[in-house]
Amino acid sequence: MNRVQGNNGWVGLLALIGLALVWQLASMLVTVEITPGVPMVPGWQVVLTSTFVSMSNFWMGGFGIPAASAGTEPSYGVALLSVLFNSLDTFRRLLLGCFIGGGLGFILGLLLSLSQWTNRLVGPTMRFVRTLPLLAMIPLFQLWFGIADFGMVTFIAYGVGVILFTSVLNAVPRIAPIYLANARCLGASPWRLFRTVTIPAILPEVRSAAVIAMGVAWAAALGAEYLGAQSGLGRIVVASEAFGYLDRMFLTAVIIVLYAAGSTYLLDRAFARVLQWG
């Protein structure tokens, strides 16, 4: 979609700053506390200081700095390490899941679309499978594959894979026959036809599916961690929620939004570079 008049980035930035200021204003107006010392709407002066330092509590140990449970004093340095390493855990699961699921979904979708028959055979079933609410399947995946990394990665891979798989299944039959006929007339071999016509023709649709899948992957990763991980950002949320530490949940939410928006943007840019002809 090429907009004649693109959005003004500065206005967007101002709007987001405005959103942050509205939050600050709300924190001044609503002074109710959930638990003593934890405001219902934590202002930025709280979130960026005491809340951030309290992230030290999620430090698991390493680099000669003992874990928080072993009595390390909270500090900005330890908090930063803690946020970084919990983020890395989430990233690791997310990326593994995205690569395995996305790769398998894309390749299987292409293989089953080589023939119109196989495409029609699996299409309707897959479209039904896609209607099954993904996040509600977390308990099922935990029972099947455990609550460790293996189960989480499998779950993320499934969520991403189903989306890409169905998008490829939908896109291949919609390729304009004229492209294929033209390439055949010029003497393209089946393999070359596949490489130079089929794959480029479906990429625009795969792009929008991939961007959606990225958002789903974040939701899936957070959900899997929320419901049973020992580390990662999702665990920070659930551990904070248990004690009513709304400020910690808010800080984690801000971090996650930055990650999710950033990764979605990067993925979209990467596709835009590949699809320069479009």
Partner: protein, 286 residues
């Protein structure tokens, strides 16, 4: 987007007698065969892995026997109303949230479509909202508004709003100005312009966006119930998971999928009827 490409078929000049026969004609026998094969494979896996994968027959049996009243639910700490009650509760949440979120999304989307300043300001805010994973957003709303039905509906409505906003905005943005200019030259006033040009020009795309939002709403509603609710499909799934009742989880998921498919199908039929002009020559791809 994963929608059945029912718009690619241009309406045939001879109208078939009934909706049912037309939809049956759209059924692909090969696709039906695929579904049967899937169930067969599922059955084979179930015989090999009986402990963790319930067989299709067992699941069907479970659904039928506990559809209206499920006495076993009492042991799990939920009211012993059966699967029907849970699905109905979730369905009504989903529909309420889709209606509320859809209306707000349409209003903001149309408002910002042609005003660059507003668009530049609202786009980042809406896209930020849409990137907050539900497992983060839900606990917040539950802590703020309490564990009740209102919170559950608000959570889902937020996500529906962000999706419909994008579609409504794009629909009006991409509407060719030539239509409006032509109507103006023919002397249309603002009201006529709205009812005869803007509504028919944007409705098909907006309703398509609503369908996509609705498809996503099921999972979100189930999660908001799983995190904090006393009823609904999500709550049932959580209770069943705590007692390792895989068969029951299968039943709830399947029923949710079937309900979602049926409602989507009704919506698609309704949209097809309501916006029949969009399916004529030059039909749009959804």
């Amino acid at each position: 987007m994963s929608t059945r490409d029912n718009h690619t078929a241009v309406a045939s000049p001879t109208r078939s007698p009934s909706l049912l026969s037309r939809s049956l004609a759209r059924l692909d026998p090969v696709g039906v065969l695929g579904l049967v094969l899937t169930i067969a494979i599922w059955h084979v896996i179930a015989t090999l892995q009986g402990r963790v994968v319930p067989s299709p027959l067992a699941v069907a049996n479970e659904i039928v026997s506990n559809f209206f009243v499920a006495p076993t639910f009492r042991y799990y700490g939920i009211a012993d109303a059966g699967y029907l009650d849970a699905i109905l509760y979730t369905t009504s949440n989903v529909l309420m949230a889709t209606a509320a979120g859809g209306v707000i999304g349409i209003i903001f989307g149309l408002m910002t479509a042609r005003r660059r300043l507003l668009r530049s300001a609202f786009d980042p805010i809406f896209s930020t909202l849409s990137t907050i994973p539900i497992f983060i957003a839900a606990p917040f709303l539950l802590l703020w508004f309490g564990v009740n039905r209102f919170s559950a509906v608000v959570i889902v409505a937020l996500y529906v709003m962000t999706i419909v906003y994008v579609y409504a905005q794009r629909a009006l943005y991409n509407l060719q100005p030539i239509y409006e200019q032509y109507a103006r030259t023919l002397g249309a006033n603002e009201r006529r312009l709205f009812t005869d040009i803007l509504v028919p020009g944007t409705l098909p795309e907006i309703l398509g966006g609503l369908r996509i939002a609705l498809a996503g709403a099921w999972g979100l509603a189930a999660i908001s119930e799983l995190i904090g609710s006393q009823r609904g499909a999500g709550k049932v799934i959580q209770s069943l998971a705590n007692s390792v009742d895989v068969k029951g989880i299968f039943c709830v998921l399947l029923l949710l999928g079937i309900t979602a498919t049926l409602i989507d199908w009704c919506l698609a039929l309704g949209i097809g009827r309501l916006t029949s002009w969009a399916n004529q020559a030059g039909s749009k791809d959804d």
